[in-house]
Amino acid sequence: MKRFDCMKLLAAKLKDELVVLSLGGSVDEWFTAAPHMREASLFQQQLGCLTPEAFGLAVGLPHRRIVALDTDGGMLFNLGILATLANERPTNLTVFIWDNECYQSIGCPPTHTAGIVDLEGIAKGAGIPHAYTARNLEEFERLATDALALNELHMIVAKVEPMVEPDLVRKQSDGFEDTVTFVRYIEKTENVSIIGPTEHN
């Protein structure tokens, strides 16, 4: 199963949701697969922070669905968030994990999921009952459809090939521009002020 194909399926299901996604090859794949979600997507470059940030958004905007697009390496960096999510149970958070079993952006040395480590099992053990693994596109679409339809915390591990789709549109912006773009979109859609204006602006 290719991550890019999963992304295209998922993108077609999203409209008013907010997305937080991880670093590496998935950035340009999501930028290309979901052009209608570019303003609504926060492109982050930090292992272990992404799902916690998505959870923080879910806490602050309980009426809105938040989608985290995390990775095996990112989730393994801070498995503690699964325990926090299990206790806090955000009903408006859906976590997808692109599990390619390697650190792809540095040449694909294996992550622990290349061994016997099972992120779905870890999540279930933490206390997240709606944790699943998709191994083909049909499974992924069914699980994603269910997760986005239900008001319950879901975590879906998508077992994907260790590859990046060729000929992608490249995202040109840096972290600051990404933050401001995302904040302006939230300000516009939530009718709130987050950055500025200042006294003489």
Binding site: P52, G56, L57, G60, I186
Partner: protein
């Protein structure tokens, strides 16, 4: 020894006056009376976390939503949160306001807490995080208000460090 009830009340009042609605925390001993008080506060959601970096990232997400959060921890937490704070603050300009206890200050009787005092200010400075060491209870509310003003104007983190006589060893 720990924090006085007056100081706990001032912190709670300061957070509410600053319109803070979420507090992420990893409990520690010097402010131990603060944590159940945060949990009991009706107008604030208290979220226990597994490590300080996770707490920083959750607070970052709350800020992105247009709400205000605080990360409460021991000063050793600045070390474990350093990776998240560097990427969130210097990399993405997403601010996190922190309240931490000053372990390892002069008068610290525990050998294991000495590294916290030695490393706190160098780590804060390395991360380019402005901070204020608060030694008097009547400084607390103003410091909290000013921390949010500076953090959100600069899009950078700010740390408030509760020291003796706000806390005691």
């Amino acid at each position: 020894m720990s924090i006085t009830q007056v100081a706990v009340n001032e912190i709670l009042q300061g957070l509410l006056e600053a319109h803070v609605s979420v507090a992420c925390f990893l409990p520690e001993s010097l402010m131990k009376e603060l944590f159940p008080a945060l949990v009991a506060l009706e107008d604030l959601r208290a979220i226990p976390v597994t490590n300080e970096g996770e707490g920083a990232a959750i607070c970052a997400g709350v800020w992105l939503s247009g709400k205000r959060a605080v990360l409460v921890m021991e000063n050793s937490g600045i070390r474990s949160a350093a990776e998240a704070l560097a990427r969130l603050g210097i990399g993405a300009h997403i601010p996190v306001v922190m309240i931490m206890s000053y372990r390892g200050d002069l008068g610290e009787p525990n050998w294991w807490a000495i590294p916290h005092g030695i490393t706190m200010e160098p780590v804060l400075n390395a991360l380019r995080i402005p901070y204020r060491i608060i030694r008097q209870v009547d400084e607390i509310r103003t410091a909290i208000a000013e921390a949010y003003v500076t953090a959100y104007a600069s899009l950078n983190h700010v740390a408030l460090i509760m020291a003796s006589d706000v806390i005691s060893y």
